[in-house]
Symmetry: C2
Subunit: 347 residues, 2 copies
DNA sequence: CTGAAAGCGCTTACAG
DNA sequence: CTGAAAGCGCTTACAG
């Protein structure tokens, strides 16, 4: 077994308290004593066990991330942002997956009660207000990403604004008959995207045609699938009068929509939402969610909250960036990328 | 603060030992006592703290994953496999990132000494034999993914066979002048891929032309970049005699190679290696590494080793699967996917 | 500057 | 079946 603080203390002829002090960089240790301890520790290959430290300090220095098992590019980018940022602090990351099919509240409850984390970053988990309320009672630091609840720090993206920007861009480019592909319409992000789309049309004095807001029939994953996009675009192309451009609630659907266009031998401009990895390769224009920054910011917020439990709850809403790649012509791989700068505001 | 075992014991008028027994499902507790304890625990919202259990049991029930920060689809897929599999066992996953730029051995050393994990799964980290040897001395369970070292359980993919399969497929399809794009040639996977390519050509009685094995000049990330592939294909297209097909050491380079072909207005069949997410969208044929299965298997191996430290070290080598999407014609999004079944053998 | 001792929240032989 | 007690490997007032 690995040596413990007792082994070092014995060999170095000091007390365990002194050994502990050396490893905690207490200044009040003679240089000579410190060196002796470090010497012995090195020889024996000693390093304090984080576990024991955590129990004694009542601090684990762990930030726990709770994500749905559906691993996708969004989570990966968010995690990358978290991982890079956490390296600046003295915390470690622990990841727990929750199964969307099972009761999420129970799973979150279980994870939190076990108490590994000093705080919990919850990504893309959507609960009812009463359920968030339940978690709130644990009185433990929580940061929500891609969700909003007044009682916790949250980080999300302004879907209304994003949809508005995308639609306005199409309008400014000259299109006047713009359809929309949406997903299951009962979640806030989806409703907001429809709202932004409508507002843009209205601001340009164009009447919204309900039949031109479509979704596919396949409602797996709330409609956020290629298949759904394919079906939706097929519907949209059958509309009268014909749409001449399209705003799509997600990139994954936009991809299906593009395939539908190819199969139908049509080609109208489309703008998606997300900016997934393949979007760049495919040359899809889209509203980019600053996933990396969202993850990075989540860690900052979390550390701040752990260190000051009473600080005021804050909600950050990012504005998605319009990334124009190729609007219509040829969805080939060679599309030159051109990005417009985006804005970011904290409320 | 949350209640502890003492609070429950006091309220339920039993000893803490009994409370502990109830939560550990010891059978030797009267039903009446058990219910009383559970009742009180429920009321007070008690759940054993994993941290304290870990210290007392000297088992953390955590499996730690060490991955380079460069987050890519390979890691994500592997992690997904691990996450799904670990749900079958009573272990949790903890993820640590190592910075490739810094000394990896030091980082791994630090992570292991802190002792969170009962075992460590190391993904895509490449060390010298002597360095692995150093880690070996800690005498802690380790499973390597995408690397081979005799002293640890390892999971890797047969690059020689993969390259051979890809090249043979091109040969069987009728191409006779096949070039190869490779990356930095000092890593084993890359050398193996070149070897497999050569062997296939030789088996078909075709002379290997050294000039037709190229790589780009941009050696960032050991050449595994789009840019490198672009440069390499540009070189390859300038070769005399002209190559009529190409095997490429990685999908990311193949993507760059495709762009180079477009820019040069050429189009020869190409087969990549990896099967990244975008490969499917782009219709790139490739040698698929069973990333998900590799992750899943890593957990199985790890749990087995944690529970039986002395079990024999085993190396699993997966055979990559040839995924034929579209060989040459039009790299459009509509390529129909056709997969050939692959094999899998354990050595 | 250093040590003895209590405590972090559990588990687990050992008795009874 | 149940309890008293020691122990897991540390930290941290409290004295000196």
């Amino acid at each position: 077994m690995n040596p413990t603080i007792y082994d070092i203390a014995r060999e170095a002829r000091v007390s365990i308290a002194t050994v502990s002090r050396v490893f905690n960089n207490h200044t009040c240790v003679t240089r000579k004593t410190r060196e002796k301890v470090l010497d012995v520790a090195n020889q024996l290959g000693y390093h304090p066990r984080a576990l024991a430290q955590s129990l004694a300090r009542k601090k684990t220095r762990i930030i726990t991330v709770i994500v749905p098992v559906i691993s996708n590019y969004f989570f990966m980018e968010v995690l990358a942002g978290m991982q890079d940022k956490i390296a600046e602090y003295d915390y470690d990351l622990q990841i727990f997956n929750v199964k969307l099919a099972d009761n999420i509240l129970n799973q979150a409850d279980y994870i939190m009660k076990r108490g590994w984390g000093e705080g919990y970053v919850v990504i893309s988990v959507h609960l009812a207000d009463s359920e968030w309320q339940t978690l709130k009672k644990y009185n433990v630091p929580v940061v929500l990403i891609d969700e909003y609840y007044p009682g916790f720090d949250t980080i999300s993206v302004d879907s209304i604004e994003g949809a508005y920007t995308a639609t306005r861009y199409l309008l400014q480019t000259g299109y006047r008959n713009i359809g929309m592909i949406c997903a299951k319409a009962d979640s806030k992000p989806v409703m907001d995207r429809v709202l932004g789309y409508r507002r843009a049309l209205e601001d340009f004095g164009i009447k919204v045609i309900a039949e031109q807001i479509v979704t596919g029939d396949d409602m797996e994953r709330d409609g956020f699938t290629e298949n759904n996009g394919y079906q939706a675009m097929t519907k949209l192309l059958a509309c009268e009068p014909c749409v001449d451009a399209c705003f799509c609630a997600s990139d994954i659907q936009a991809l299906g929509a593009i395939k539908a266009m190819r199969d139908a031998n049509k080609n109208i401009p489309i703008i998606g939402f997300d900016d997934l990895e393949f979007s760049e390769y495919v040359g899809l224009s889209t509203m980019r969610q600053p996933m990396y920054d969202m993850g990075s910011l989540a860690i900052e917020k979390m550390v701040r909250r752990i260190e000051n439990r009473e600080s005021e709850v804050k909600h950050t809403v990012f504005s998605p960036d319009l990334v124009v790649r190729t609007l219509a012509p040829d969805y080939d791989l060679l599309a030159v990328r051109k990005e417009e700068s985006g804005t970011f505001n904290s409320r």
